[in-house]
């Protein structure tokens, strides 16, 4: 009951039947299926991101004893849809001295890279578009395009703040990329697979969640992921008192919206990876068959997004030298230590 897989299979079976009747080959039908899923998933993710923007504003408001958006819809619930409509109609101010193709493609690359991660995310029981056999590596690889996107945005804008923001952001993201990658190795050593579907399948019980065997790995991952998303306390690339708006300074209208949405999407992605690798993915704490699996997945993920928002109103911003020093002098040695401890643990207990 409540599982979406059966419903999707029924609908797809009907569509695939129709397509096969026209005389399309099996491979083409498969491709059309993927395209439909991609479009639907794009819609779902856009809704999730719009919800996150509203939620961030509400959480921020509550933590500062304000009300936040209240006017548009119930407690301002459709405020961000109104904002999206507004951004769609905004004039696109493209400064004259920019490198136009670079400036144009930077938001596209940033957003599409953030979106492509969801090819291999298990949203629920059987709800995974493609369980890639190098899933974990795929996610790390695709997210590196974010760095390319923001370097392009910084360069293409021909603006000193944008370029400096792009540099800072890229240096920060690559510095935290190393401990982040290494922190995931512990889970892979235990699970012996890179496929996200299999990793979730192995965590079928509250005490089988990998966070209990990888507490240090999770802490390293979570700190590094916060930095990768440019969230407070690591939000230096957009330190508005120093750099105006960092690499998005010269963007407006829909191009700005793409960067903005990609940022929230990356927040969601970080939570998704944390939930999938360390907190059992769509598994409920009481085993795989308790309640709708996709509901558990979204509940856990939204909890971690909430933690990121909580961070924002708890910690002050770091200084740039503290930021880089922390990645290389604290997190990286800890990540190596975690690998050695995991190796020793497996050797002793296996």
């Amino acid at each position: 009951m409540f599982e979406l897989r059966g419903l999707i299979d029924t609908i797809w079976g009907w569509i695939a039947g129709l397509l096969a009747d026209i005389g399309l080959s099996a491979g083409l039908v498969q491709l059309i299926g993927y395209a439909i899923i991609a479009a639907v998933l794009f819609g779902v993710i856009a809704l999730v991101v719009l919800f996150l923007v509203w939620w961030e504003r509400k959480v921020s408001a509550k933590m500062q004893d304000r009300l936040g958006p209240m006017r548009v819809g119930w407690h301002g619930i459709i405020q961000t849809i109104a904002d999206a409509m507004k951004l769609l109609q905004k004039e696109d101010i493209t400064p004259k001295n920019i490198d136009f193709p670079i400036h144009f493609w930077a938001p596209v690359i940033t957003f599409v890279a953030a979106f492509m991660v969801y090819v291999t995310v298990p949203f629920g029981k059987g709800l995974i578009v493609a369980d890639l056999n190098v899933g974990v590596l795929y996610i790390i690889a695709i997210t590196t395009f974010t760095v390319i996107g923001l370097l392009m945005a910084g360069w293409g804008s021909n603006n000193k703040y944008a370029l400096l923001g792009g540099f800072r952001s890229a240096a920060q993201v690559v510095s935290y990329e190393v401990p982040l990658t290494l922190s995931l190795l512990g889970v892979i050593m235990i699970s012996q697979t890179l496929s996200l579907g299999t990793i979730v399948g192995q965590q079928d019980g509250f005490f089988k969640w990998y966070v209990w065997r990888q507490p240090l790995g999770f802490v390293i991952f979570w700190i590094a992921a916060t930095a990768e998303c440019n969230r407070t306390p690591f939000d230096l690339p957009e330190a508005d008192s120093e750099l105006v708006a960092g690499f998005v300074t010269e963007y407006s209208g829909m191009k700005f919206a793409m960067f903005f949405l990609a940022e929230f999407l990356n927040m969601f992605t970080a939570s998704v990876v944390a939930v999938t690798l360390f907190f059992g993915g769509w598994m409920s704490p009481f085993g795989p068959d308790f309640g709708p699996s996709w509901l558990w997945f979204f509940a856990k993920t939204f909890f971690f997004v909430f933690v990121l928002m909580w961070f924002r109103w708890t910690y002050p911003r770091l200084r740039v030298d503290q930021l880089m020093g922390f990645a290389w002098k604290v997190l990286l040695p800890l990540a190596f230590l975690n690998i050695l401890l995991t190796g020793l643990g497996i050797y002793i207990f296996d």
Binding site: L28, N133, V134, I140, A141, T144, I148, F167, A170, E177
Partner: protein, 166 residues
């Protein structure tokens, strides 16, 4: 529109991306554009790896070449001053000898490609390719594997020595 046709189409589209991207890399007069097209080319090469069922290699291709090497090049280009004012010449007095050498190399490649008996049997790629590579690295190729760490250490020390000179 058979499946074989679609697969061949995918192969030709990806190959076109690789070659077109490569031509842009060497012919663009803007160094930053060259670097971005390099990213495009290297990503397309990952597509070729995927079509050959070398999934781990494809992921590594993106991670190392796009994520690290191309990113380093973009950093290098961006940190060089006043680049967009410099018009890069891509012709000089050595154009004829260079063409001659290139033609010779092309002939060698064509000869090699047409002369090599490629295995065309119905060989299935190993399901657990990544694990097979891991096992090989830990058993048969353990010495080269350890040499890699020495090489990386040497690269690190060299990078530090050069970078600290400023």
């Amino acid at each position: 529109m058979t499946d074989a046709f679609l697969t061949n189409l995918a192969f030709y589209v990806i190959s076109f991306c690789v070659i077109a991207g490569g031509i842009f890399v060497v012919s663009s007069r803007n160094l930053f554009h060259s670097a971005v097209f390099l990213v495009f080319t290297l990503f397309s090469v990952a597509g070729i790896f995927v079509m050959l069922s070398a999934y781990l290699l494809a992921a590594i291709q993106v991670l190392v070449y796009v994520g690290a090497v191309a990113m380093l090049m973009i950093f290098g280009v961006m940190l060089t001053t006043q680049l967009s004012n410099v018009r890069i010449r891509y012709m000089n007095e050595q154009v004829w000898p260079a063409l001659l050498i290139c033609a010779g190399f092309l002939a060698l490649l064509v000869y090699g490609l047409t002369d090599t008996p490629f295995a065309t049997g119905n060989v299935a790629a190993p399901v657990e390719g990544a694990k097979a590579i891991g096992t090989l690295l830990m058993t048969k190729y353990v010495l080269p594997f350890e040499m890699v760490s020495v090489l990386l250490l040497a690269a690190l020390v060299g990078a530090i020595v050069i970078a600290k000179k400023d």
